[in-house]
Symmetry: C2
Subunit: 334 residues, 2 copies
């Protein structure tokens, strides 16, 4: 492991991307998103993704030079066409306009289509909460979860995120996927030839399996809450794909390789003013519930560890595996 | 059991309510909602609730004469004050205005505060889908679920509902609560002195229990998906209470008795035009995912049984337990 400061890491990421057919502006935007994931203690969505991102832009699976296009389709509705580029600039463009339009509207719906991997969804909604707004977001990913009773994955792991301001504290950020377990954990078990609990995944026939290898070969991840979670994943797919003009999980190419066409997945945001719906005490009332949680020994407000990690990373930097660092420096051109 | 036609049942419900300090208009609205629940095969939210509803309006816990008040707080934002009356007329008032405002806006947020039991949430969003719109709704209920790691219930069972139009078929309606199991099932087990699975509920100390009696005495229901479900319940509470100016689950009085003040719970809706966000093919694309589900043997589209039940009930009527029917006829004044 090598300890690297956040500015140094961002600089490195920019160089990797600009050396891989990506414009400087897009590279800066993508780099900031990846470094923030590492800073928050979510390395699976941080620099570890950069070699794949760079391969994808290099081969054109993700277009690193394209600019997203915004159209206003209602007085409170925004569509952004990511044009098969990185998701982050498209999300930025949409959120910036949404923060203006929410002023007279009270609520804005933002649909981002023809997009790609959205990274840590919580970061996008947190930004809105920092501006005093509340937001809920839905994103789809390549297929991982089967419809309930079925045996072929149609839905992604399909994150839902929510953020709102709190009085005298960083925002509340909820960020969770509908799959019980990340596919990465099952892959790790398969690589190590270890068994997995029988409620993590199914085999290719749709039967629960403890064989991680079988789960990886045409199996599906199981959703939280059985049929209820599968219904939530269905909802997230509809929000992220049908309601953004994008592809469903089962139509999308992988986020993890440079094969095939662009993933063309989607992102959907509801953005609203808490005071506009809940009245002038809305944020104080959010604080009251947070207090009721922390009053219980053992209970925690979700997402708070990310802020602690981030604060530490801002002074101490983050640890990056040596082989990843070597790979990135080589890609950046030494 | 007695077999009763839907019109007869609605008439009986209206008479029960108007005999219990409820205006004829409100009685008609509440009666229609309860009868539809029975028709759809959801008796827990049907006529079985009417004796409690009538007791609540009779004693003033729920005001049967009040009219909800609507205010537009943004060009796409609506607040409805249910004024401690029944939820159904407040929801009707808000949805009717939302269906107009969504036309130039593309999306509308509707917050209903100082409300009460919202019945089958799926029915409210289904109505919007019948009009070609999509909708997502959040409702809170008196406390049932503890924060993750805690031992005192703060959140309700906290339903989420979603509906959207489908091509050449009734709407897709998703309607689920965040608790793994309805409290009614645990009460039934406690009454029969039967054990429950250890992932349904906790005892008063926050430990999972198989003792249904202990679960009922100060315990909590467990959410789907452990910490993830608890985070979803937290989100639903914030949407339904903080964002509507209403009470949290742990502040609300029971829906099941005529004790205490009004529950003052809340309901929140996002209502939007699919074509406005997803483009002109949005509904066709919804159909494509529905087809991909039904193409898999064993997989089903959620919520379809309700439509089958409803169709049958419209011709055949529904079965009502004799003692309930006797109770209602007595309340209606013979």
């Amino acid at each position: 492991m090598a300890n690297i400061s956040l500015p140094e890491l961002r600089g490195l990421a920019v160089r990797v991307l600009t050396a891989s057919k990506t414009s400087p502006d897009t590279a800066a935007c993508v780099a900031a998103a990846l470094v923030r994931a590492d800073a928050d203690g979510i390395p699976s969505h941080g620099m570890a993704r950069l070699p794949i991102y760079a391969d994808q832009s290099k081969c054109g699976k993700v277009d690193g030079f394209v600019s997203p296009e915004l159209s206003e389709t209602g007085t409170a509705a925004i569509r952004v066409d990511a044009r098969c580029g990185f998701a982050y600039p498209a999300i930025d463009l949409g959120l910036n306009r949404a923060m203006e339009m929410v002023e007279p509207a009270g609520v804005v719906a933002l649909a981002i289509g023809n997009s790609s991997h959205a990274g840590v969804l919580g970061h996008s909604v947190e930004r809105l909460a920092d501006a005093g707004l509340a937001a809920m977001a839905f994103v789809n990913t390549p297929a991982a979860i089967s419809p309930w009773g079925g045996n072929r994955a149609l839905y992604g792991t399909d994150p839902i995120a929510f953020a709102c301001p709190r009085p005298d504290a960083p925002p509340l950020v909820i960020d969770l996927s509908i799959s019980k377990i990340a596919r990465g954990k099952i892959k790790l078990a398969a690589d190590r030839d270890e068994a997995i609990p029988d409620d993590w995944a199914t085999d290719a026939d749709g039967n629960p399996t403890t064989d991680a290898g079988k789960a990886m070969r045409g199996g599906s991840l199981l959703p939280i809450g059985d049929a209820k979670g599968a219904a939530l994943a269905l909802m997230v797919e509809l929000m992220s794909a049908a309601m953004t003009g994008s592809q469903y999980g089962y139509e999308a190419s992988s986020f993890f390789d440079a094969e095939g066409g662009p993933p063309k997945t989607g992102q959907f945001f509801f953005i609203f003013k808490p005071e506009c719906l809940g009245g002038k005490n809305a944020v104080a009332r959010i604080g009251a519930l947070m207090q009721a949680i922390t009053d219980q020994p053992g209970a925690r407000i979700p997402g708070q560890r990310r802020f602690e990690n981030r604060k530490r990373a801002e002074t101490d930097g983050v640890d990056i595996p040596d082989d990843l660092l070597e790979n990135l420096r080589w890609r950046a051109g030494g």
